[in-house]
Amino acid sequence: MKRIVITGQGTINALGRNVPETLEAMREGRCGISDLEFQDVERLSIRIGAQVKGYEPEETFNRQQIALYDRFTQFTLIAARQAISQSGLTFSGELAARSGVVLGTSGGGMNTLDENYRSVYEDGKNRVHPFVVPKLMNNAAASHVSMEWNLKGPSFTVATACASSNHAMGQAMQMIRTGMADVMVTGGSEAMLCFGGIKAWEGLRVMSKDACRPFSANRNGMVQGEGSAVFVFEEYEHAKARGAEILAEVVGFAMTSDAADIVMPSKQGASRAIAGAMRDARLNPEDVCYINAHGTGTAANDKTECAAVADAFGHHADELMISSTKSMHGHLIGGTGAVELLACIMALREGVIAPTIGYEEPDPECALDVVPNVARDVKVGAVLSNAFAFGGLNAVLALRAH
């Protein structure tokens, strides 16, 4: 089986317009959550989110591109450009044919849907722009990345709610591992901070009105974010032969289904995914020093996740660090695992563990080292990244320092 390394990373999210800005914010424990700004926000009861503020598409894209790219596609292209540029790869001939793109998103072109529903239902218009469908479809971002960089191998989009990015990156990894592709551009994107997007989530009553405080006894819900992170996964020998800078190695992946409940998480399902990723990576529990948690800040997720970690790691659960960076960049739903992988790579490369900010009161049901409020300098060799989606679909990645 082939080995997989990461040779490029890019992002845009509420913490920064690129990877260095984002990592600096994570090191400083800065919060990207603030008052939401969009049409009709005053009709919402939830008015906070980790929004990419001051973003002007015109600074990056021309008029025709903007007519065709939903916000989630724009974010993806910005992140992909950084990642591919860092990798130093150009795609032509046989390499193009053996390179693909697998991305995660949950809502796809949610802003496009929202704007056009408003136009036909509320404003009573009977004509919509011809690009509504190619703009809103969930695979638009993956397709535009393939077109812009000439990626002609396996390419598609994964939608598994909050686990979309982890499932996408897991697929990308498997394709390289089994020899289907040499390079995969992968990660995810989400842009559902619009009236309809938040209104739908309000209905579930799992959103916080004031802050995201994962693992804290006084936590009161999740806070949504938006943005994208994209990575270049490359077959190890291919990367080595061209002398590429290797950021980390992707060593394991596992996915499980709870087969139980459409919204409530399951300790067993999560624990099986965590243990499965370690097994796949040939890591012993003691090898894992840090977990980037799913850590949504809801009552149910955080206690179930801690119980699952305790179950999978036994006594070593008390030795490892587990933090939720959603406290800073919000929950990017289908893009969240991708942004969180940035924190995992920072831990492996720089020995900086991003904190769980907003932590105020210990919760006996979350009695793990959640790296409260302040980043920590610790050299780590192997890390996990958890994602547990609505619908009971779990996906966990394992990375090693290279």
Binding site: Q64, A67, R127, P134
Partner: protein
């Protein structure tokens, strides 16, 4: 309305082709102007919006449509016809 139908149609086509209106001539085809199939449906949408008309155009078979898109002049004539029908 001060601007003629011709000027307004040319302005729409020019914007789509990323050209100045003065660089669009009546005998040119959309292909000459570098407008692809997506650009064509976007132009038709812009024309419908601008004149509040409904253009009988089916992208499955553009040549079978009643709306003649063979040149800039043909498009202008077709739009003038639709606007006149609407007024009648």
């Amino acid at each position: 309305m001060s601007e003629s139908i011709q000027d307004r149609v040319i302005a729409i086509i020019a914007e789509q082709a990323v050209l100045e209106p003065g660089d669009v001539s009546l005998d040119q085809t959309l292909e000459d102007l570098g407008i692809d199939s997506l650009g064509l449906v976007e132009s038709i949408f812009a024309i419908e919006e601008a004149f509040d008309i409904s253009v009988p155009f089916n992208a499955n078979d553009p040549s079978a449509s009643d709306f003649d898109i063979s040149s800039v002049a043909a498009i202008i004539r077709a739009v003038e016809g639709l606007v006149a029908d609407q007024a009648a």
